[in-house]
Every structure is written in structure tokens, then in C-alpha cells.
């Protein structure tokens, strides 16, 4: 359009006028710099991958035995004289019976020990888990007609026996300083050759609750507690976070007040999680009066902690939607709400979902705030509602990690593996959802 030539009275230098040698050196330098930069990147990634590989190797190596558990197959006689001496078949009586005695009788019979041989029976008792009675009681309660019959039952072996089978006890150690005696070792070998004692997949790890014996301790309560908490986080943090993001991005006037809110959301994301625990303790438990150790309280605290993550992710996703889409919708007479809900949100969905799932994953692995609200509890029974006492997966890991027994050490790593599997699954879901919702414009 313009036919004016600009004369600045200055001749620009040209690259072709430079000394070829200098140019060559400059090019070589630039290439070397680029190569070095790439090398740093590769080194950083390699280092990171190595660390991850090391972490996983250690955890898996330590944790895999937790997925196996030694069990004894015994012929248990459900003796009515022991279970229900009154013969009334009342649940209270059946509950109160001494099932450990039934299990003990079965193992004496199996090993051919006289029930009045005090030394031998004491040693034989040591082969059984002290939690064996729980399983027997459950069997009888489930089907009282079993009383009076003799049945093959799989019972948990003692933690020490389990350790022998997993090769964790050195037989060369003198008997006096060994957890398991020579006589017991002989019986273990005898039972193994007789096919009575073997390792089986440890379903109990997933179904049982808290216990002081490693062999009867499981993640059941923790998994349910974590599940309740994730649902709470999902129901609280996602609607609130997305609504806040929409309001801030699309409706709020850009002024000092919104700047203030914005800065504080970022601040909130950086607040140490334990502070949220303190908040939950002070407000939800002491002020509102919600029960301690309840997964509802844990969920609310985690929701509060996740909220800024969701808001930030959702805002980023919403801003990333090109303005031309909004204009297109407004231009044909869509209301602001319609343009947001019909066009902006669907396009922002992948980003929102990714942010949400990352927030959830972070919440799933969070321990510190849960300690503050009393979720470090010894909970044996499954929580039926989010108001019942429960624990959470990472808290369970923490609790097991403080125990001394060999069985708890392997369970600590085993539970970490379970947690990692959950986290990987959530990330996988995030990837799949992102793929599914991804649209080009």
C-alpha cells in the first residue's frame, strides 16, 4: 500500500560480508552448545528414570512376599462341647466359644501330640496364628449346621512359620536365639512334605482389618476408608473447584479483589498439608462436632486441600479454549451460560479431568493431615458409612512401618505397592479420559 522508502542513513551489516572463518567458528559453537544442552536433558531424564527404577525394585523386592501367606490345611472337628456346651445355638454363646482350642486340637491331632503333653502342645500352639480363631468363628456363624462335623479348613500359620517358609529365618542360628525352635522346625518340614502347610495368595491382605499379628492384618479398612474419602473429595472439590474456576475466568471482573482471590488460591495450593489437618481438627471435629477418625472428616480435609489444584487446573483449561469459540457462540445469540456450558466446558474437560485426577491422586497419597484428625486408629471392622472410624492406605502404611515384626515390614512394602497400583490406575484413567475427550480446533 505504501510507496515510501525509508532512508535511515545507516547501512545494515550483512552476514555474507563476514569473515568465513569467524562464521564457521560461530556455527560450530552454536552446534556444540545445542549438543551440550541435549546431553544435559538426556542425563537428567536418565537419572530420574534410574531413581524410579531403584525405588520400584526396592519396594517390589521387599513387598512381594506380603502377597503370599502361609496357610495350614487342618481337619478341624467342630466340637459342640466346645462351641456350644449349652446346646441352645444362641449367637452369643457361639460368639463367645474358644475357637483357638478347636484349631489347637486339630493341629495336635495332625502332629500326633497328646493333648496333655504340656511342652509339646505349647510348641504346637506356636505354629498357629493367634488369629486363627477369628476365621473359625466366622465359619461357624455363617453356617451353624457345621457344628458337630469335621471339615478341612485353611488356617493361618504363625508369623514365624511364615518367615521360615519365606526363607527369612536362618536355620543355622543357635536355637536359643531363634524365634522358632528345633522341634517346631521339624514339624514345619513334616507339614510341608505332607502337603499340609503351603503358601497361598494372600487375599487377607486386601480384606482384613487392623491386627496386632501381621498374618491377620490387612488393608480392608484402609481401602474402604480411602474409597469413602476419594468419593467425598470428588463430590466436594470438583463441583466447587470447577464452579470457582468458571466464575473467576468468565464472570468475575478483573479488579484488585479478584487479584487478591487469585493470589490466595495459589497460596492455598502451597500450604503444607498438615495445616489442613489442623484446620479439620479445629473446625470439623472440635467445632462442628464430627466424629474423630471418620473418613468423612478426612475426605473434607483432603477436598479442601485438593480444591486449589482443581481450581488452578480448571482455570488453565478454560483459558486454553480459544476465544474464537466463545465469540462464535455469542455471535449467534447464545447466552454466556450457554456458551460456557455448551462449548467452553466440553473443550476444557480434558484439562479439568487431568487436573482433578492428579489432585485426587495427591489426596489419595496424603498422610499428614489424616494423622491430625485421628485416622491413625486401630480399626478392625469395616466402616459401613463415612462417619464410622476408618484408616486410609497411606496411614496404614505409616502404621505398619512403625511395627517391628518381620511380617509388618513386608506388609509395609506390600501396601506401598497396592497404593502405587491405585495411583498408576488413576493416572491411566486420566490419560484415557484425556484421549477420549481430546478435540482439535
Amino acid at each position: 500500500m505504501t510507496d515510501v522508502t525509508v532512508d535511515t542513513g545507516y547501512t545494515s551489516p550483512s552476514i555474507s560480508a563476514l569473515d568465513p572463518e569467524a562464521v564457521r567458528r560461530r556455527v560450530a559453537q552454536r552446534r556444540a552448545a545445542e549438543w551440550r544442552f541435549q546431553a544435559y536433558g538426556v542425563a537428567a531424564i536418565t537419572f530420574g528414570l534410574l531413581c524410579v527404577a531403584l525405588l520400584f525394585t526396592v519396594i517390589v523386592a521387599k513387598g512381594w512376599p506380603a502377597f503370599l501367606q502361609s496357610t495350614l490345611k487342618l481337619e478341624v472337628a467342630f466340637d459342640p462341647a466346645v462351641i456350644d456346651p449349652a446346646g441352645k445355638r444362641v449367637t452369643d454363646d457361639i460368639m463367645a466359644a474358644d475357637y483357638q482350642a478347636l484349631a489347637a486340637a486339630a493341629i495336635y491331632k495332625q502332629l500326633g501330640i497328646a493333648p496333655d503333653d504340656a511342652v509339646a502342645t505349647a510348641l504346637a500352639d506356636g505354629l498357629l496364628s493367634t488369629g486363627a480363631d477369628v476365621d473359625l468363628r466366622k465359619l461357624v456363624l455363617a453356617d451353624p449346621s457345621i457344628i458337630g462335623k469335621t471339615q478341612s479348613v485353611y488356617l493361618l500359620a504363625n508369623g514365624n512359620v511364615d518367615a521360615v517358609l519365606k526363607g527369612a529365618i536362618d536355620r543355622a542360628v543357635p536355637e536359643a536365639s531363634r524365634q522358632i525352635k528345633d522341634q517346631q522346625l521339624a514339624w514345619v518340614d513334616q507339614l510341608v512334605t505332607g502337603g499340609r502347610l503351603s503358601k497361598a495368595f494372600n487375599w487377607g491382605l486386601f480384606t482384613r482389618g487392623a491386627s496386632s499379628q501381621p498374618e491377620t492384618a490387612g488393608l480392608g479398612v484402609a481401602v474402604i476408608g480411602s474409597f469413602f474419602m476419594m468419593i467425598t473429595v470428588l463430590l466436594v472439590a470438583v463441583p466447587l473447584g470447577v464452579a470457582a474456576a468458571i466464575y473467576l475466568e468468565e464472570f468475575a471482573a478483573k479488579n484488585r479483589w479478584t487479584d487478591f482471590v487469585e493470589v490466595n488460591i495459589s497460596n492455598l495450593a502451597a500450604v503444607p498439608s498438615i495445616v489442613f489437618g489442623l484446620l479439620g481438627l479445629a473446625i470439623l471435629i472440635n467445632f462442628v462436632g464430627l466424629p474423630r477418625s471418620a473418613s468423612l472428616v478426612g475426605g473434607l480435609v483432603l477436598a479442601l486441600m485438593t480444591l486449589p489444584t482443581v481450581i488452578i487446573a480448571a482455570r488453565a483449561a478454560i483459558t486454553a479454549v480459544p476465544p474464537s469459540i466463545r465469540q462464535a457462540a455469542l455471535g449467534i445469540g447464545a447466552s454466556k451460560m450457554q456458551s460456557i456450558f455448551h462449548h467452553v466446558l466440553p473443550l476444557a474437560m480434558p484439562g479439568i479431568l487431568t487436573g482433578t485426577i492428579i489432585g485426587l491422586a495427591k489426596a489419595l497419597g496424603e498422610t499428614a493431615p489424616l494423622l491430625m484428625i485421628g485416622m491413625v486408629a486401630f480399626v478392625v471392622d469395616y466402616p459401613r458409612t463415612p462417619l464410622d472410624p476408618a484408616t486410609a492406605l497411606p496411614v496404614q502404611i505409616y502404621m505398619w512401618s512403625t511395627a517391628q515384626e518381620r511380617g509388618f515390614v513386608e506388609r509395609t512394602s506390600g501396601a506401598t505397592m497396592v497404593l502405587l497400583v491405585f495411583l498408576l490406575a488413576m493416572n491411566l484413567i486420566a490419560v484415557i479420559l484425556r484421549r477420549r475427550f481430546e478435540r482439535k480446533w
Binding site: M1, S324, A334
Partner: protein, 275 residues
Amino acid sequence: MVAASDASVLNGSGAKTLTGPGAHSGKISARDVNVFYGENQALKSVNVGIPERSVMAFIGPSGCGKSTFLRCINRMNDTIAGCRVTGKITLDNEDIYDSKLDVVQLRARVGMVFQKPNPFPKSIFDNIAYGPRIHGLAQSKTDLEGIVTASLKKAGLWDEVKDRLKEQGTGLSGGQQQRLCIARAIAVGPEVILMDEPCSALDPIATARIEELIDDLRKNFTIVIVTHSMQQAARVSQHTAFFHLGSLVEKGETQQIFMAPTDKRTQDYITGRIG
């Protein structure tokens, strides 16, 4: 600074095409419109009348406020933070900045086609059906299909896409996308269509098709088009307004503007001396 403050230039020259009686001429009339972006004044006292069922072109150098004025007509400026409009703009003698007027309703009556084609990332069918759906224009599925077909035919896109209505609108070529956007705009049955440089991203063939289309649409719609191409303005429009540095310098019948401009600046611009 303000040139041609007389709002009725068109009354004299373009009277044949006018239908609206009364004090204001044409379908749309702007009186003393000023637009500010924060402290910056982008438009200064613009007065213009846009006649019904014809094409009016806005020309002028970059940054002179053509798009700004266009956005005033369907109040898209409302969505820009810090943008303030004063003065009066009427559509069929109705003040569009009246507080009782519903903006959404206005935008359904005054459609817009943007510089860059911006189809929704949805199917071709849904792109066009969206407007009629939200405005409740179709009673049934057959109705809706009828509207979609008619709009695509009017936009001259039907033959190219009739077999792939389920495909993504974003998968079309640039020219096709722009015609899709035009079809989307006419699907809600607007009275006015605003086009902001609709051909700037298109090749000469696609441009020619759109120009033909505009000429066709003139029978049913009032069209306002912003363009940087003098030839395009000359080809498609009956009236032309020349903007310069935020002021409307000159307006009138296209022929007159191009053959015998009265203002020096207009003359300079159309002969290529301001650019």
C-alpha cells in the same frame, strides 16, 4: 476532525433501497457513537445509516476502528473488558443499547461472521443446528434438518458437504469453514449479518464464491462487511463508508465513493496513498 456528521447522506443517494420510514434512515442507524477502550478513544462521533437488504462495506486503514464499529452493532463489545460505548445505535428504530433490550435476542437478530473461520469442534450438522436449537426455532427433527439443509444451500456449501454432515466442521478447508460459519449465522434467521474481513484468510476462488454468496444473501439480509480489498468493496457493496483514525470520513453509494470521493483522505486511501 469529525467529517460528514450528516447522518442522512444515504437519504439522498441511496433512497431507492430504503424501506424504513421515520427520522432515521435504514435498518440500522448510528448517532454520535464514541467507543473507548479504557482511556483510548477508538471511534469518534460516528454517524451512519445502513439501508435494509443491501450490502454496506466499511473500508479504511488498519486500526481505524472498522471492527470496533461492527462489534457495536451486535454489542460484541460488551464482552471486551474496559470497552465503553456512548451514543445511540438503533435497529429498526429500537435503541440496541437500551437497558431493557436483551443482548442475546439482539445477537440472534444481528448475526456475525468473523475474520478467521471459527466453526465449533462439532459435526457440520451440529454447527448449524446449534443456533436453531438454543433459540427453539425447530419443532421437530425434520424441521431442524430442513433448516440445516436450507442454510447450507443458501451458503453454497450443500453440494460439498451433503454426504458428510456427521463429520467435524473443523475438518473442512478454510473457505468451506467460512461458508459453514455463514450458514451457521443465517440458520437462526437474522435480519442483519455482520462480516469482519470474511475473506482475508481465503484464496481468490474461495473469495469469489463468498462474494457471490454475499450478493445472493443481499436479497434477504442486511449485510455489513469490513474489507481491506477495494475491489471487493466495489464488487459486493452498494454503499461504502470510509473510516480513518477513528472517524467516519465519508460514506455514500459505493460508485460515488470510488469514482468521485469528496474527501482528500478517501481519495488518498483508495488510490493507495494512505495504507
